[in-house]
């Protein structure tokens, strides 16, 4: 029993080696197939990394639902300070803070890089701003009535509910996730089709060998085995290459992104695809390659039967 198991293992090892041998004997065709597959695997991976990074750069504001109350231009700073006291005393308000137009201008000058342009302005164009943080247990209805109450003040220009942004952000992330799923499905189907066609041609090329193998009593499973290994090998190599393409692209982007982030006063860094993504793309490639080979082999091998002459 263990003897036949060893033979079985040896047979699989031999099928794997012979598949690798067949691929290495026609490097150009193999390389072209692998490149097409690698790009098809790299695209969803890149999109996945993009989604991850968008989440990382924006994730910190998702817990900061608040109200921004912009006062009308020309409102006196003293009046603004009184209004903050009133706002802070509201039942559903946890905390209120005033950002005067002078503070806002200072911050804008240092962050935006438009310092020189601002110097050319005679007046400060920025309004006073009151930032309110509602109590944690405040219901959406309470926040909405607070918004309407503040909006009714004569000194108030607009009240911006941050939850609008959170809703939009959530919607955009949802869209990106849907796109990611669509990309995985479409490009995965593409990988299956590319492998399937390559394996189909390979089977036609080795028709004589397959006929003789069936003639001496080789089962369909036996004949199919090396082709499945070929498909899985294509997938693994393409997965590695696709991963390398995305990692290489991120390395190229690292400096420009760092410059851009610095310009915004942020220390944001691009996240590389982690070990989990690496394993996913390589295993996914192997699985898709195997599946494509299985589909092609099952279809083609049933049609090849030995003939006597």
């Amino acid at each position: 029993m263990s003897g036949s198991l060893t033979a079985w293992g040896a047979r699989h090892a031999q099928a794997l080696l012979s598949s690798a041998g067949h691929l290495s004997r026609k490097p150009v065709a193999t390389a072209l197939t692998v490149i097409v597959m690698a790009l098809a695997l790299a695209l969803p991976l890149a999109l996945g990394v993009l989604v991850q990074n968008v989440q990382a750069v924006t994730g910190n504001f998702s817990d900061a639902i608040g109200l921004s109350v912009y006062l009308k231009p020309g409102t006196a700073e003293q009046r603004a300070r009184q209004l903050v006291q009133v706002a802070a005393s509201q039942r559903s308000v946890d905390h209120a803070e005033l950002i005067t137009s002078a503070d806002a201008l200072k911050e804008f000058r240092s962050d935006s890089g438009f310092g020189a342009a601002l110097d050319a302005l005679e007046d400060n164009p920025l309004p006073h701003l009151i930032v309110l943080r509602p109590k944690g247990d405040a219901s959406p209805d309470e926040i909405e009535s607070l918004r309407r109450y503040l909006q009714a003040w004569p000194e108030v220009d607009t009240v911006q509910l941050d939850s609008d942004w959170v809703r939009r952000y959530t919607a955009i992330m949802g869209l990106l996730h849907t796109l990611l799923v669509v990309a995985i499905v479409l490009l995965g189907a593409g990988v299956i089709a590319v492998v399937g066609n390559t394996i189909r041609l390979e089977i036609l090329n080795r028709r004589a060998e397959i006929e003789v193998t069936k003639l001496v009593g080789g089962t369909n499973a036996f004949v199919r085995r090396p082709f499945l290994y070929t498909g899985a090998l294509y997938g693994v190599v393409a997965g590695l290459l696709g991963w390398a393409v995305v990692t290489g692209t991120l390395m190229l982007l690292a400096r420009p992104v760092a410059r851009l982030a610095a310009a915004y006063g942020s220390r944001f860094e691009l996240a590389d695809p982690a070990l989990r993504e690496f394993a996913l793309v390589v295993a996914g490639g192997a699985l898709l390659g195997w599946l494509g080979a299985w589909l092609a082999a099952s279809r083609e091998l049933a049609r090849i039967e030995p003939t006597a002459s």
């Binding site: 040896a10 047979r11 003639l215 001496v216 009593g217």
Partner: protein, 230 residues
């Protein structure tokens, strides 16, 4: 070992290769299958090896009814039959060893066992020591013997051969026949299709003569030897 009862074979293109053929080959027998081109020799061999199924009648080989044998059991069925082709059907890009080993490889035989049996089989056909050679480096007669070694390596109880001496000179043809007779002596059943009538006569073995089905049916000249109709 082989029994044909009123067997008819009509191909999809409408060509009738056999009609109403009955014949029997006992276990341990060695017989020749002769007849003009088109008389159905190849079809009979195809029906025995289950490369084709009969459209009418019954074909029983080694206890299996080939008309109804499940597709999943065909590989196991074929392992009981060694097949020798006129054009030998070797894989020209594989060394002699790999070619002969193929029937053992498909049954997951252990590597040591494969090595032992391939050498034994090559020894029997006089090609021991040529394992690593490619078939294209061998003569036609040697290639034919590699094909025979492949057919015999798994020790099948039945061997069928289609014109095994067709490409060989008379001396080599006689040697090949002697090789077959040696296997017959150890109990292998052999059916050999040939048009080499001299060879058949000299061997003194039973001959089944097929006639083209145009004049009714392919008829076997069963029983004792009979003068070929040519």
């Amino acid at each position: 070992m082989i029994r044909f009862e009123q067997v008819g074979k009509r191909y999809r293109n409408g060509h009738t290769a056999l009609s109403g053929l009955s014949l029997e080959v006992a276990a341990g027998e060695m017989v020749f299958l002769t007849g003009r081109s088109g008389a159905g020799k190849s079809t009979v061999l195809k029906l025995i090896a289950l490369l084709e199924r009969p459209t009418r009648g019954t074909v029983v080989v080694n206890g299996a009814h080939t008309a109804t044998l499940a597709a999943s059991r065909i590989p196991a069925f074929r392992r009981q039959i060694g097949v020798v082709f006129q054009d030998h059907r070797l894989l020209m890009d594989r060394p002699v060893f790999d070619n002969v080993a193929l029937p053992l490889v498909v049954t997951d035989t252990g590597l040591k066992e494969i090595d032992k049996r391939v050498r034994a089989s090559l020894d029997q056909v006089g090609l021991l020591g040529r394992e690593r050679v490619l078939p294209s480096e061998l003569s036609v007669g040697e290639q034919q013997r590699v094909g025979i070694a492949r057919a015999l390596v798994s020790k099948p109880p039945l061997v069928i051969a289609d014109e095994p001496t067709g490409n060989l000179d008379p001396g080599l043809a006689r040697e090949t026949l002697e090789l077959f007779q040696r296997f017959n002596k150890v109990g292998v059943t052999l059916v050999i299709a040939t048009h080499d009538l001299q060879l058949v006569q000299d061997s003194g073995l039973r001959e089944i003569v097929l006639e083209a089905p145009a004049d009714g049916a392919a008829k076997p000249a069963d029983g004792a030897r009979r003068e070929p109709t040519l």
